[in-house]
Amino acid sequence: MTVGEICDKLNLEVLSGESGLERNANGVYICDLLSWVMAHAQKDDVWITIQSHSNIVAVASLLELSCIIICEDAEIEDETVRKSAIEGIPIVSSKKSAFELAKDMVNLGLGS
């Protein structure tokens, strides 16, 4: 499944990095500690977090994550938006909690 398809099906707002909407998404990783994400998230994972400063794009890009979903409407810095556009990592915003988003992803069949 692509990031674009997930966003369409779940009605998620893509804030930037649209060039990465064709990226493949295979799993989900949820965490707000960047070193923990670095150690455990896998390539093509959708990353759900409330962290929204620009360094999240560096983490996602280094690990080749498929996209970043900022949950619970956490405010997103302009620099994050700018960097995600450069790296082609979609930044997606959602009102939902990480748990609710995870349930949605399971229902879509992600990770199975």
Binding site: D32, L33, L34, S35, W36, M38, A39, K43, T49, Q51, H53, S54, N55, I56, V57, A58, V59, S61, L62, L63, E79
Partner: protein, 143 residues
């Protein structure tokens, strides 16, 4: 393959550019055609070293050397040095400030992650002088 070496200067507190050196290192390894497993290990180790320099040091450098047998990362800084290296190597131990922790850093996983990603890891720290880390990732057939 000849030996290749790149130097990256890392500024203290420069969160805006933090991660750029690691991204460049990853691109270099990709261009050299190394396999994704070793690229991931080097990228994680370089990122953690880079973030440590940004968060904890007075600035320093990340140097990467690639020779036919291995990839070596040197992370050297200009202080302040680590009081208790053994404690710093423990998962979960961190001296990061609350502000840094709120950003999702300071999990106390940086040095342990670096060690895990390396085949050979050495750290030396002298108070007021600096911390000097060498990480080696050996290339196997197929890397």
């Amino acid at each position: 393959m000849d030996n290749i070496r790149y130097d990256f200067e890392i500024e203290k507190d420069d969160f805006e550019r933090a991660g750029e050196a690691s991204s460049s290192i990853k691109k270099i390894l990709r261009q050299l055609g190394l396999n994704s497993g070793i690229i991931r290990r080097v990228a994680i180790a370089a990122y953690e070293a880079e973030m440590n320099l940004v968060i904890h040091s007075n600035g320093g450098s990340i140097v990467i050397e690639i020779d036919p047998r291995k990839v070596t990362i040197f992370a050297n800084d200009k202080g302040p040095g680590i009081k208790d290296v053994k404690l710093a190597m423990k998962e979960g131990y961190s001296t990061a400030s609350d502000r840094i922790r709120e950003m999702g850093f300071g999990a106390g996983m940086g040095l342990p992650n670096m060690k895990k990603c390396s085949d050979d890891f050495s750290i030396k720290s002298i108070l007021k002088e600096g911390t000097f880390i060498v990480m080696k990732m050996f290339l196997k057939d197929g890397d």
